[in-house]
Amino acid sequence: MTQLQEVSVDDIKHLVSERAQTGETMLLNMGPQHPSTHGVLRLLLELDGEIVVNCLPDIGYLHTGIEKNMEAKTYQKAEVMSDRLDYMNTVGNNLAFCMAVEKLVDLDVPPRAQAIRVILTELQRIASHLVWLGTSALDLAAMSMFLYCFREREIILDVLELCSGQRMMTTYIRPGGLWRDVPVEFEAAVRDIVKTFPKRIDEYEKLLTKNPIFLDRTLGIGNLTKETALQYGVTGPMLRASGVDWDLRKQRPYCGYEQYDFNVPVLPEGDTYARYLVRMQEMRESLKIVEQALNKLPMGSVRSDNRKFVPPPRSEIGLSMESLIHHFKLWTEGFLAPKASVYSAVESPRGELGVFVEGDGGPKPYRMHWRTPSYDNLQVLPEMVRGLLVADLVAVIGSTDIVLGDIDR
């Protein structure tokens, strides 16, 4: 087992200011195990009293080697690992993977599958924002928000369990469409959500938006200018709260998003309060999209007919020899991808989630790289917290909405 590393000030003197070496400022470890760092993140803080002079994030405590492990599995098996990257947005990770694989092998997706994919992804976006709201309010000591948000999240997880059998790691979205069609109770459950959630979001806004303590702790804290955000590759609600109108669902529509009518909230201030308002408004827009998709849900099949990539239904296997052969080939070897590379991106609740796949003519990916949004969102943290108090640092980390599984992969 590796031993714990002791690092002295001389080792890192090129990263901290000169005042640290004389002892005028203190170097403090906000360690991997901490209630407010939202996962295993280690921050090396240089403090002058209570004010943060510099902050160095240290990541890698959750490094799982998923990219190398995916090279050893076929495309269908590698999708199972993709859920576990950004574990708040599991359906979105499956969607990003499937879109990249479909682009690589040029596979079509029927319109009913596209509409159900949109519904589940937007529900997952609401669930992810609810967890963000609950945990960041918990950091600011608004404890009842945590309990309310998790209560709503259970309702959304019930819908996911209805479709796929699993609450979080569903793997319901597969290359070529979905695993199987949604059950009959799905529509009633989603309509119930669309009817009750707007009032619940209004309740949360009533608790926090005009609350003087909340305003005191978030207004004007953690400013991120537009130029700094673009230099550091920040995307998602953090970029939109700094005044840049860039949402992949509108600029590069995928999965049929161009049919739905929704707005993208953009605010110019760039502080913690602006990020809070952007995410709250995004939850309402997601509900609008879910309602439109549910009303327009077309009939038809949910998986593509291309039997080279999509397994045939069980009923066909007994009747046709080709179906049996296709089933056998897909289960033993997997489908073959061309010797080329693609990059395909979706809009996750945190920003641009991109997948770079390179195939080599065989059934396993040669290289699979995930462009995860929290990696760049965290890199800009030192720029946002210079000169703030330690308590403000906690609020700013909460507003960046990082997930460590995303960063360390």
Partner: protein, 162 residues
Amino acid sequence: MGVEQKLGNMGVVTTSLETAVNWARTNAMWPMLFGLACCAIEMMSAQASDYDMSRFGMELMRASPRQSDLMIVAGRVSKKMGPVLRRLYDQMPEPKWVIAMGDCASCGGVFNNYAIYQGVDEVVPVDVYVAGCPPRPEALIHGVLTVYEKVKGEKFKDLATK
């Protein structure tokens, strides 16, 4: 006819010291916050509204290891995190118990590669393993109740020889 029949009226209960100590330990066991990855979210769900763990004595989670007696290792433990986990386990005061929650903590789970410990029992000794990826909150509560049964079965002579 004896003292036993009057004891209830006087508000006195007799039992053995072992049972009393074990009962006290189970009814207010405080877990240490050690959520690493996806299982941490299910652990938070188990603590929150629908599946309330406070009913079983876990009213709050302590962030400091010096004030807790149960460590729920929820999530995958990477090679960089292993020494940190061992140090936190050493900082917990006796008596302490460990639950390995989820497949990654029990046996390495989906990830059989260079970066993850194949089971957290390579780093700390484990009392109860809870399977699932991630385990439902009800499964975690079942694991916690299994720890309670183990505690209730502990005898003083085992502690003396440890």
